[in-house]
Symmetry: C2
């Protein structure tokens, strides 16, 4: 089963910035950017409820920041860095920059 992922050309800057404006989501994105292995959703953002996590991942996915797919019983996530970089060059790097991430 797949989910709706916006095409690269359809990425909306407002949606991306809004998705990145939440500290929890920014933390997820930072973790995804750090370790390059796709990981199940459950291994992110400890301390928040499952349903809240589901919500955050949907926001990230619908903004086009992450790609998700099912693998067995868990759901994997990958950062769509290439697409984001193509549409908004430098944005992800600046948001994930050292000072910025420290502020998560």
């Amino acid at each position: 089963m797949t989910f709706e992922h916006p095409d690269r050309e359809d990425l909306d800057l407002s949606a991306v910035l809004h998705a990145l404006s939440d500290p929890q989501r920014r933390r997820i994105v930072a973790e995804l950017a750090a370790g390059e292995e796709p990981r199940p959703c459950g291994s992110f953002a400890p301390g928040i409820t499952k349903s809240t996590r589901t919500h955050h991942f949907r926001v990230l996915r619908e903004a086009g920041l992450v790609e998700q797919w099912k693998e067995g019983t868990s759901k994997m996530s990958r950062l769509r860095r290439d697409d984001i970089d193509a549409r908004f060059p430098g944005l992800l790097d600046s948001v994930l920059g050292s000072k910025a991430v420290a502020q998560v």
Copy 2:
């Protein structure tokens, strides 16, 4: 009369990203970045009400994106590009990049 402007060290990434996630505010920021002369608030974002414009400028000011001061009967605004660039290098440039601005 002055207004509360956050210090450079107190700039909050979440607040900045949230402020930039609104198309109207992004348009204001883009106009401020384009013409380097400070301009009165009223000359921005035609088509929205005065009160809405006041609201947007307050969000931008409290996020630390613009500096404002009174000059006679009007209120001038200036983009705090130096502070933003110092805290979040590359962020403003990527948000105001050609593709990005075209999407405003």
